[in-house]
């Protein structure tokens, strides 16, 4: 799956904006939005918030978790533990990138947030590689991955699944003929 598709899913998350225009309720297929009144916060999906921001029609209120101090705590916790700690949003990496690239002026301490999230990401990705290696070494058939976000999974998905599938086939060599694949050769 391409990262832009993961980002596409992340853009369905809701976020608060402060519009500078007025518009009555909109009945979208995916649900109703608005009404929009200048200066009053309203919740919209991220894809709409970014579009309105680019067209200079609103300011974006960063989500509560996108706060330098909170993220600092999470980073320390992530570094302390060797399991994946619970993450405030399933799409923390995508939302940080989207909001910081398009609405950095609406987000205080934007650069600290960007570095904090990058640190959290790097720590977790290193853990993911460790657990992948142990999963292969122990030749396990099942692993539980709570708290892992879709973007984290997606970055190593193809490599990990291809490797697991290759290993499975090499292992089926141990029981010649019993493997599910029919052994008709040419």
């Amino acid at each position: 799956m391409d990262p832009s598709e993961v980002e596409f899913l992340a853009e369905k998350e809701m976020v608060k904006i402060i519009p500078n225009f007025s518009l009555d309720k909109i009945y979208l297929i995916g649900g109703d939005l608005g009404p929009f009144n200048p200066g009053l916060t309203v919740e919209v999906p991220v894809w709409l918030a970014l579009n309105l921001k680019q067209r200079q029609k609103c300011r974006i209120v960063p989500p509560e978790w996108m706060d330098a101090d909170k993220l600092e705590e999470i980073r320390e916790q992530e570094r302390r533990e060797d399991t994946f700690t619970p993450i405030p949003s399933l799409h923390y990496m995508e939302l940080t990138k989207l909001l910081l690239n398009h609405a950095a002026d609406n987000i205080p301490r934007a650069d600290e947030i960007r570095t904090l999230v990058k640190d959290i990401w790097d720590t977790r990705i290193a853990k993911l590689r460790l657990s992948a290696d142990s999963f292969i070494n122990q030749q396990e058939a099942h692993a539980r991955l709570d708290n892992l976000t879709l973007m984290e999974i997606n970055t190593t998905r193809t490599f990990l699944l291809d490797s697991l599938n290759c290993m499975y086939k090499l292992r089926s060599n141990l029981q010649p003929g019993s493997g599910s694949g029919k052994a008709h050769d040419y």
């Binding site: 009945y27 939005l33 709409l48 999963f135 141990l174």
Partner: protein, 225 residues
């Protein structure tokens, strides 16, 4: 402009009665996204969702008609158009991943369809079935015309069922549990390990072989991610 973009038409007015409960538009879109992800990550072709596809197409064309009557540059219209673009992307990507699997495993898909008992749900929509048959015919005609007919008599055909690899149901997949499941049997990887059983709590995420949870995917108990 009269609010042509009134309440997106509810589906209660569907022609024939649908076995699933009647879907509101938001549920429809949510179902489509689930089907899209499952199809994208499952090694085999899943059950066809032609009803779902039809309903979504209906919503899109209905909304597009409304938008024709709206003057250009209207903010509300541009928001609706953005949503249509997003839904149409998911629908196209969903149908594309189905089509790619049909083309990749066409002999097996056709074989499965032919040997399907009448009652069972079909994996191919009628249009997909037609497309798969044409693809098989077209490819066999091509191979015959270019080379096979010039080969010695006993070599003038290739058994596509054997030549084209089957989907490997033992591939590993990532999944998120939507409805709690107990005692899911996990086949051991090595013969010195014994079978063991795993519980799947709601909301938990797992990495395991597709074969063990295939029925849960079609029932919607788990979502591939």
């Amino acid at each position: 402009m009269a609010d042509a973009l009134s309440e997106a038409s509810d589906l209660s007015g569907g022609e024939e009665s649908q076995d699933e409960d009647v879907l509101t538009p938001p549920e429809l879109i949510a179902r489509l996204e689930e089907a899209w992800l499952n199809e994208k990550f499952s090694p085999e072709l899943l059950e066809n969702k032609s009803e779902l596809v039809e309903c979504v197409m209906e919503q899109l064309t209905h909304m597009e008609e409304n938008l024709q009557r709206v003057k250009k540059g209207d903010l509300k219209a541009s928001i609706h158009r953005m949503e249509i673009d997003r839904i149409r992307f998911v629908l196209s990507s969903f149908l594309r991943s189905r089509l790619q699997k049909i083309e990749k495993f066409f002999p097996h898909v056709l074989e499965k369809e032919k040997s399907r008992a009448d009652g069972d749900p079909s994996f191919l929509s009628p249009e997909e079935f037609a497309f798969a048959k044409e693809y098989l015919a077209n490819t066999e005609v091509y191979l015959k015309a270019v080379a096979l007919r010039h080969m010695p008599p006993n070599l003038q055909s290739v058994d596509m069922l054997k030549a084209v690899p089957e989907p490997c149901l033992d591939s590993f997949v990532f999944l998120r549990v939507k409805e709690r499941q107990e005692n899911i049997l996990v086949e051991p990887e090595t013969d010195d390990q014994r079978d063991y059983v795993v519980d799947l709590e709601e909301g938990s995420q797992h990495l395991m072989r597709y074969r063990t949870i295939a029925p849960l995917v079609s029932s919607g108990a788990v979502q591939l991610i």
